[in-house]
Symmetry: D2
Subunit: 308 residues, 4 copies
């Protein structure tokens, strides 16, 4: 399987973790879900992200899930989240998944980091520990990690840790950061691929600022595929019309915590998951929630027809 | 001026603080801004909120701003934010603004509160300190305060602090909280008015769950007025069509920090502010930001025409 | 090996993790360290605590360390820290270490917990997941976890989760909590063993308030053994004289972060560790630090001689 | 009154705020307390610190307290804490207290600051706002503010904000920071005075690392005076013997939150305060707490006699 690099583009869908109704891992369901993502426009997958249900897996389950996604993905590159409290555990999981054929690993900073130097030296240790041949995605997600990485810090990291090939951009607000990183690149800084998160809620603007695509789990990957495609092709109005049509649902899934339950419900309604169960502790949808989502899905269908 | 009470309804706009280009308070501009809010559908105003620029005012400026908004608002009720690190300062400001004719005061919890009992006893102290004749709005805004108030805690507070008449609901996700509070009311708990925040990003659903209106600063108050009105009238599709039209801009203003700069820019474009300057420390818009907002405003106009 | 229970008493030393100078786990050194702790007065050991270097071990290393400490400890009970972001990983490790002969497991709350109900239901899930036959130590350490557990919450947990047998008390300030828990017990609440942490910095007072002993890693366990013994025997002045003699060093080790490096240095000086190396990221001592510690150790020796 | 400067030395006692039993400000008691501090060895006072009861004063009370301390202090320099959420309020209070004769003002960073540049630019704004003629103390207290300031950041601030004359050093652990700042000074960086906090719990070592004195509120300022004097005179053993004698009480007062109640109790027992009441919300001592403190005070007296 090809590795990710600094020119990787498109939509890497953050994959949901399928559970059976008894909350065991639904290994068989991983094939169905992967097929859904592929058909919906995924250029790659990201598995075991920190905001999903990866922390609720045992370490053996986590490896099973990673292995099965990689197997089912075939030629689609799969990035595995390996964030861990310590470097030894991160290294152990990284070796395992790279051997399975992963395209790279993603590392979010531990929430104890505060100063610029702490952040830079953390990623230098990550780079040294994982080795120069493992492509790394740096996840910049202050809302969850509480770690704030200014552009100057990111550029110091990119300069000194060549194995970092991609930025999972999830700062909020974060448009200025994309513009500044691309300006730095134009002035000679090393290029990295920038894929954006936050459920896609700013995707249209992010693409215009210079992002290379999206890395998030919105349950309609075709929206992300098309927005990326249209902006890239210069069809700006078309991109924004499409984006706006999906925005009510994007917004609903963007609710912290509850959004994941909403997302699994949509994936189930769309036939991509057999069960929308979440492991404890986790939110569950009420009848009112489900009615709201059903309504949003129906309205989306109508709006897409209007747009033609 | 009438006081707010547990049946207050409609749109209380969180008022921006007008500065001149030299960053002095633009007292004269308060009249223009108040007139804009009134014409755009405000049923009341909220001034000196914690997320705006109130913390950047000196204490004398804060009183000047409060007094002028109250004077200009005439018969519109004005709620004044009086959150403070200590009860003595809160009490001092509350006495001053109630004497000026404020309709009530709003109090967010200090970020040091953690346990249920700490939160309940804090609001009991607030109620005792401010006195039974001052209507209080409890601001529930965990994203900023880090204080999480479960429904059971809110109901304990409402039960033991009768002067709390209104909940500024700004939990996120927070729809289930509205449903649960209304269910508790149906089961006999004391009613409080619920106005919702978060820039209006969930307003349509919040109204359907039982909110009484909105209290947020979105620069198109007419959207909030109409969504509240249509949902109340049972015109659900019409409400949601209108809401969706504004959603791209609602989302843009909902960006933490930067959103306030975007909002002031829109207010200036709409003629409600003479200057969109923010005091330091604070974000400022780039040309790219302004171009994005201009585009969103133009698209909104077109979409509203389509909707007729 | 016997399990811990609600009447467990004495000193459970939080064991350091021995590394060789090349930072591999010094498995052979575990025997020497265990012997040191036993001779210094340990009634039990606690391994893989959240504040030490456990998070820096890979999962296979963690099991090796746990197994070797359990093997070397013989009839001394060994508690294993199993705190984890998810219940599946916690359950997996718990099963493994209980099979090895652990005396119980210790669980700190995830830092995302805020409200009373969240905390109670978390420990209920822990109890259900680990099973009624696994004795659990609840670690109450707000300085690190940011989770505040009032006495009422602890008693709700003790009442509904019978497998919790011990409280690792590490609130600061926390003396009133011990008094209140013992008062509740006198009024009929279920008894749990209370062992105190925080490096022993309040141990004298904690014992007088009703603690059953200490669970912390201070490098002179004999101080903790003797303070526990003397207070229990009613020799209050003798206990406090001894405590005060050690206090300058207790204080030095109580420095967050750096304290662990100081502790390993003292353990090395005392012959308990072959190397005082810490894995990255971690603090390291300067010459000035070492000189200060040497001085404190020398002064301690003199003071102990004065006390006779 | 003389202003503080980069060579200020000695003990600046953080003054308690005296309340009457009815919790009104005991203005008359400020004279008595000031006299106590002077006789106990204070070289200066610091009033309205962030960790005391200043946030519980109204703005008019705060000015009254500041004015009375300055009046009573006579030729003793008085530093006033002016930390505020916004620069306008900080500027307003600074102007007022400098006009009253304050020797300087102290500013802690708002807890929202994270990155190096945010911290540096915050203090640059403070310096510009307060003006070059107002000596500023930078308070570095991460345990409370959550803002971490590495040595490089402090030196960038000192270099670009000449009005900062003093560092209130309250990092923990913080000995390495003092050493590094003094090494930087030896290498040519601008000198600032370093006074240390944290209740004095590391004072002996801090003096040896190069601190110029203490700025904290320990209720026996004579200990701080003598430790500073003896270390300065090279009488190291004598300094440490004395320090160790007081350490059990230093430690007791160092308990977060509760420590302030303990301190006021000791000050009342020593005749420095008429009442040890704290304003709400705040901790209160139990009978057990008071008995422990009485015991520690009696033991201190005996130990001081032993030392001669």
């Amino acid at each position: 399987m090809p590795l990710i690099n600094e020119n990787s583009r498109g939509v890497f869908v953050i994959a949901a973790t399928p559970f059976a109704d008894d909350l065991s891992v639904d290994v068989a369901g991983i094939g169905r879900l992967t097929e859904f993502y592929r058909k919906s426009g995924a250029d790659g997958l990201t598995v075991l992200g920190i905001m999903g249900e990866a922390p609720k897996l045992s370490s053996s389950e986590a490896r099973t899930v990673a292995a099965e996604f990689i197997r089912q993905a075939g030629d689609l590159p799969v990035i595995i989240g390996v964030s861990a409290p310590g470097l030894a555990a991160m290294s152990e999981l990284t070796k395992a998944v790279m051997d399975m054929g992963a395209a790279g690993v993603m590392v979010a900073p531990p929430s104890t980091l505060r100063t610029d130097d702490q952040i830079v030296s953390y990623y230098q240790m990550v780079g040294e520990t994982l080795g120069s041949d493992v492509p790394v995605v740096l996840q910049d997600y202050p809302l969850t990690t509480t770690v704030q990485m200014p552009v100057a810090v990111l550029n110091r990291i990119f300069e000194t840790v060549p194995s970092i090939k991609m930025l999972k951009h999830e700062d909020w607000p974060g448009l200025a950061k994309i513009s500044a990183l691309r300006a730095a690149e134009a002035a000679g800084a090393r290029r990295v691929s920038i894929l954006t998160g936050n459920g896609g809620v700013m995707l249209f603007e992010e693409m215009q600022r210079g992002a290379d695509g999206a890395m998030t789990g919105f349950a309609y990957p075709e929206m992300m595929r098309d927005v990326v495609r249209y902006v890239t092709a210069g069809e700006i109005d078309r991109a924004q019309d499409l984006f706006d049509a999906y925005l009510p649902l994007v917004r609903y899934e963007h609710q912290p915590g509850l959004g994941l339950a909403a997302r699994k419900y949509v994936l189930k309604q769309r036939g991509a998951l057999a069960s929308d169960k979440l492991r404890r502790p986790g939110p569950s949808l009420s009848d009112a929630d489900r009615a709201e989502i059903d309504r949003l899905m129906a309205r989306l269908d109508r709006r897409l027809k209007e747009l033609g």
